[in-house]
């Protein structure tokens, strides 16, 4: 069987599924997609807030360490990211 014939045989098996996926994703409104993007950012931010304090190895774990706790750094980045998707 030639290369082109093999290619066409395999693609004929995949094409119905490919067409189905294309139709499904094309039917989703862009507003829903944008909401999904914000949801990803929000879920990440929630996960970051919930983790234990991310401090240097010898740092005292009690209390709030705004400048040293990496969670707040990550939160700041995520907030800026969300703002960019709002603006653009």
């Amino acid at each position: 069987m030639g290369g082109q014939a093999l290619k066409e045989m395999i693609s004929s098996l995949i094409l119905p599924f490919a067409d189905f996926m294309f139709a499904v994703t094309n039917a989703i409104p862009l507003g829903v997609v944008r909401a999904a993007v914000f949801a990803i950012i929000a879920v990440l931010a929630f996960w970051v807030i919930r983790m234990p304090a991310q401090l240097p190895e010898n740092e005292e774990k009690q209390g709030l360490h705004l400048l040293k706790d990496l969670r707040f750094f990550a939160l700041g980045v995520l907030v800026l990211q969300a703002l960019l998707y709002i603006v653009f």
Binding site: S11, E57, F73, Q81, L84
Partner: protein
């Protein structure tokens, strides 16, 4: 398309910059004594330099030319590659994956996979990634040659050789430390240079509002140029489904969590805390990248409509807008971006082949100095291979598409086995072996028949997604049929207190 030559002051600026980088690399080389010094910077690198190095290694000349060129063609959707296509993966990487790598004390990703699974997985990953890195070096060198050719008329092959020689010197002598510190300098130069281009372009056009008005008035083909999320039936390769599934779920995590050239920097940090901090610092810097790269591409639509090749837009803007002196600075910034990518991939490819192929399989019990010399030899070999491969890159419609296509072949399967290895103790070495090989075969097959099943001419995002899914299912299925070794997962999840003992 030829634009002209650099003025005298521009040549001086570029010359001083290139000589400075080589001198710096040679100076750092005087402190290198062991393979740990050479491949991991002695584990003394500061977080701020590592973060800057990660960013500028990622957005080398390839992105400057390619992203600006693709933005010229397709619009602001390119920003997704730096935003949703980077930030979430970097944050997950900082808090989950980097600590795993750090605690096991590995030099390379394949080494980590070897400890978690088996030697076969380690070797296959090292071979695939090592070979692809050689091709990518060719892409980076071709990108630079193209821009240099446009800007100052040098023959492409002479430019390739010149850049390879400069990068080769400081990478060869200075190892990862030279790479990271020169990258930090290059990051500053690149940010400043790219910002200058954007600011001058916007002043010429009359501001961002005028830019939007002018571009959207140019016709229907520009109607989506200011939309971040494009419909699936968009005539571009960047419909939202590919961006969300292929990019942010697969290619981005695979790149930021499984690319040796990126991860190796964090392994050179002074502590686990600083390794995490370096990644978050890199994520912060990434927020600004689309503004300084996509912006010029969009401005170029107004200032230079109808360019024959969209990848010419950035070099054209440099040449047309900047006075002598500034041209030299921005050209140096461009070279800085290029060299940061080449030096990173050179250093990482050499590390992979030295530690995962040469030492792991053929010559296991030699001194640190021996492996350091072998690493330097591999740098020379990969430089030569990159120079030979460079002309092939010109065959693709856009440089960025070529780069991403190459990555999409193996990044999805690699992410699947890394993720399962860390998060699922039941994953077995045999499962990962099948998942990796059959996953790469899946992506290769999809690429082979892409014209028959995908609506876009560059379906790398979709190929990456489906190869990832295939590798995931295969790894899980075969793992469930084979006997697990839970001690391997415990070892990588708990790490070791004295990493120096591990090889």
């Amino acid at each position: 398309m030829k634009l002209g030559t650099l003025s005298g002051i521009d040549v001086v600026i570029v010359f001083v910059y290139l000589i400075g980088m080589m001198w710096f690399g040679i100076r750092i080389g005087r402190f290198i004594k062991t393979d740990k010094d050479y491949f991991l910077g002695g584990r003394k690198l500061p977080w701020w330099a590592i973060g800057m190095s990660m960013v500028v290694s990622d957005i080398g000349a390839l992105d400057i030319v390619g992203v600006a060129g693709t933005a010229y063609l397709y619009g602001i959707a390119m920003a997704n590659f730096e935003w949703i296509g980077c930030i979430p993966a970097m944050i997950i990487g900082a808090f989950i994956f980097i600590p795993f790598y750090w605690r096991t004390g590995v030099f390379t990703i394949p080494e980590f996979l070897g400890r978690r699974y088996n030697q076969f997985v380690r070797t296959v990953v090292a071979l695939i990634v090592g070979i692809f890195m050689a091709f990518l070096l060719g892409v980076f060198l071709y990108t630079a040659a193209k821009a240099i050719n446009i800007l100052i008329g040098w023959p492409e092959y002479a430019s390739i050789l010149g850049v390879a020689a400069v990068v080769g010197v400081y990478t060869l002598f200075g190892g990862l430390a030279a790479v990271v510190y020169t990258d930090a300098i290059q990051c500053v130069i690149m940010f400043v240079g790219s910002a200058i281009i954007l600011i001058i372009a916007l002043i010429k056009i009359g501001g961002w509002g005028e830019l939007v008005t002018a571009v959207t008035a140019m016709g229907d083909q520009y109607s989506n140029h200011f939309e971040l999320l494009l419909p699936v039936d968009s005539p571009t390769p960047y419909g939202w489904a590919g961006i969300l599934f292929g990019l942010s779920f697969v290619l981005s995590p695979a790149y930021w969590l499984g690319n040796q050239a990126i991860v190796q920097r964090t392994l050179g940090a002074k502590s686990e805390y600083e390794a995490k901090k370096s990644v978050l610092w890199g994520a912060f810097l990434k927020l600004f990248i689309p503004i300084i790269l996509v912006g010029p591409g969009l401005a170029g639509i107004v200032l230079h409509p109808g360019l024959e090749s969209s990848d010419d837009i950035y070099p054209t803007l440099i040449h047309d807008m900047l006075p002598p002196g500034l041209t030299g600075l921005v050209f140096a910034a461009f070279l800085a971006a290029l060299m940061s990518s080449v030096d990173s991939y050179l250093n990482s490819a050499a590390t992979l082949w030295t530690k995962d192929i040469y030492q792991a399989i053929f010559v296991p019990d030699k001194s640190d100095r021996h492996y350091m010399l072998v690493g330097k030899t591999f740098i020379g070999i990969f430089l030569v291979l990159g120079v030979i491969v460079a002309p092939i890159a010109g065959k693709f419609p856009t440089i960025y598409g070529y780069f991403q296509t190459v990555f999409s072949i193996f990044q999805g399967p690699l992410l699947a086995i890394i993720g399962l290895g860390l998060l699922w103790p039941r994953a077995t070495g045999i499962g990962a072996s099948f998942g990796l090989v059959l996953g790469v075969m899946t992506s290769s097959t999809l690429f082979w028949m892409k014209d028959l099943i995908f609506s876009t001419s560059e379906p790398f995002l979709y190929i990456a997604w489906w190869a990832f899914i295939a590798a995931l299912f295969i790894t899980v299925a075969v793992s469930l049929m084979t006997k697990p070794d839970y001690s391997k997962h415990r070892m990588v999840s708990r790490g070791t207190a004295h990493w120096e003992d591990k090889r």
